[in-house]
């Protein structure tokens, strides 16, 4: 973990409610895809946890949806604003278990961490397939970015306005040749995936957080392997340990 100041470089809408923010600063604490950062927002007490979508030596990209007070303040922040951020939080995805053909499944604002994960897996010589789920075409984002990585991208929308009509699970059920899966998204989706996948996998959870770095026990969950803090031993849990 690291606490430092980042400068907003870019802050732009991808859809009517999802924004991309690029932040410049010290990224040295980030070690894995699937980790998150915790952002201090002027005037609010708690920080806001957001997954790392991508990063390099000096910048972080996040994608966030405006759902409440904090994210609505964020969307109005202008480039060169400074933000106090904790980085390198959470365990992130373990790519050593992926096999050669892992599925990456992102639902809604669960899509962002899949981006860096896909890059890492590609770097490791694997062939990930990405499945993205949205409610409707207008809410879809980042399909192009994934395609530009040169990987297969499958899309499901609940109303059928884009890709397969239905849920990501409908696509997953139609696939057989995958070796592992990684996912992030709303809890009902995670649960459904856990049931319909025929390999092991890693799932990333959300929980209301007090600190984001393991100090408060605000985010605990019970697993088959004991109590875990979503912010510290999570947000990524293995399919086998989850108690639904």
């Amino acid at each position: 973990m690291n606490q430092s100041h980042f400068k907003i470089v870019k802050n732009e809408p991808l859809t009517s409610t999802v924004y991309r923010m690029v932040l410049e600063g010290d990224t040295s604490a980030i070690t894995r895809a699937g980790q998150f950062i915790n952002i201090k927002i002027e005037g609010l007490f708690l920080r806001r946890p957001i997954s790392v979508c991508d990063y390099d030596d000096s910048s972080i990209t996040i994608l966030y949806k405006t759902v409440g007070k904090g994210t609505n303040i964020m969307k109005d922040l202008t480039p060169s604003t400074q933000l106090d951020i904790l980085t390198g939080l959470g365990n992130g995805y373990d790519t050593t278990k992926s096999g050669n053909h892992p599925l990456l499944i992102g639902g809604g604002v669960g899509v962002p961490p899949m981006y860096r994960l896909a890059k890492n897996l590609l770097d490791e010589g694997k062939t990930p397939v990405v499945i993205l789920g949205f409610n409707t075409k207008d809410e879809a984002f980042y399909m192009e970015e994934f395609k530009q990585l040169g990987i297969e991208v499958l899309v499901a929308t609940a109303d059928g306005t884009l890709g397969t009509k239905g849920f990501v699970t409908d696509i997953v059920k139609s696939l057989t040749a995958y070796t592992y899966f990684y996912t992030c998204g709303p809890e009902p989706m995670l649960k459904a995936l856990s049931a319909c996948t025929n390999t092991s996998g890693q799932l990333s959870f959300e929980e209301r957080m007090g600190c984001g770095f393991g100090a408060c026990m605000g985010c605990s969950c019970q697993t088959k392997y004991g109590n875990k803090r979503i912010c510290k031993e999570g947000p990524v849990l293995e399919k086998e340990e989850i108690i639904w």
Binding site: K40, F45, L86, C211, F213, A215, M217, C219, S220
Partner: protein, 304 residues
């Protein structure tokens, strides 16, 4: 040079800054960030006899200037705290610590106090009679003078450490409870624990946290903390560890003027992991600004 050393029941602290129980774990998350031996002491997570997972999640809600938690005393139980957590803690912190214990019966308090009494590094036992999250638990002890006195007396018989009773602010008359603890032999008073609070999520129309209510803390509760420290200082002759919403060195001075000998920092650690470090570094400067040479001179100063 200013003097920031203060003494709690014979234990001299380099400065009065103490992370509050439940907001600093057992210290090692913070030890990754800075050398926590700069702290005056620290109060580790509340311990019970049995391991506890605590309350269902969500356990956290945001408020103006603060937060609500309903962690519900998640801890691995006194045996594991002693066998696993304290040895790890010892590696990163080398001063006397404060052991915060909780219970839902006098026997449970006594059990924990007796066990923890054997731990050399524990300087003070802080008896939490005030956690609002345990049904049939801590709450009741902290809301009646008789019950608080009973716990105090029982704990005192089984330990040679100094015993500080940590009081709940959710009471009509904090003074009568503090006095009862004094008469029962307490060595000091810690206050305040969290205020009982609640938020409702407009999107669901239901309470934000699973347990409905929880403990409200952070800057927002500071005026209540100052008031209660002031009232208790006026009525009892015990050292007070003041807390509730402290986030700056100025806040520390204000609580000390009200009557605190030392000051705990809670929720501030969660939103700024360097909060205690920053306060400790600011303290000498802020003391100079207000012409304070020795912190001991201002304890209870607002009463004169």
């Amino acid at each position: 040079m200013v003097n920031t050393k203060v003494t709690l029941s014979g234990i001299t602290l380099d400065n009065p800054i103490i992370p509050a129980s439940g907001t600093f774990g057992y210290g090692y998350e913070f030890a990754e960030l800075y050398d926590i031996n700069i702290l005056g002491s620290f109060s580790f997570k509340g311990t019970t006899r049995e391991p506890r997972f605590g309350n269902p999640t969500p356990r956290i809600a945001e408020c103006t200037g603060g937060m609500i938690n309903s962690v519900g005393l998640q801890n691995p139980g006194i045996e594991k705290v002693i066998s696993e957590e304290l040895p790890k803690m010892k590696k990163v912190f080398h001063k006397p610590v404060i052991a915060n214990i909780s219970g839902s019966s006098v026997e449970e308090y006594v059990y924990c106090a007796e066990k923890i009494n054997a731990e050399e590094q524990v300087g003070i036992i802080e008896v939490n009679v005030s956690c609002p999250n345990v049904h049939h638990g801590g709450m009741s002890f902290g809301t009646s003078p008789q019950a608080a006195a009973a716990v105090t007396k029982a704990v005192k018989t089984v330990t040679t450490k100094s015993v500080y009773i940590k009081l709940s602010p959710n009471v009509t008359d904090i003074v009568s409870i503090a006095k009862a603890c004094e008469e029962a032999g307490a060595d000091g008073i810690s206050l305040i624990n969290t205020l009982m609070g609640m938020r409702i999520d407009l999107k669901t129309g239901k309470p934000t946290i699973a347990n409905k209510m929880g403990g409200f803390s952070g800057s927002a509760i500071f005026p209540v903390a100052v008031r209660m420290v002031y009232q208790v200082y006026e009525a009892v002759n015990l050292p007070i560890i003041g807390m509730g919403g402290v986030s700056t060195a100025e806040d520390v001075l204000e609580l000390m003027l009200a009557g605190a000998t030392a000051v705990q920092v809670g929720a501030a650690n969660l939103v700024d992991p360097f909060a205690c470090k920053n306060i400790i570094e600011d303290l000498p400067h802020v003391m100079k600004k207000y012409g304070i040479k020795d912190l001991n001179h201002i304890i209870g100063g607002a009463h004169k």
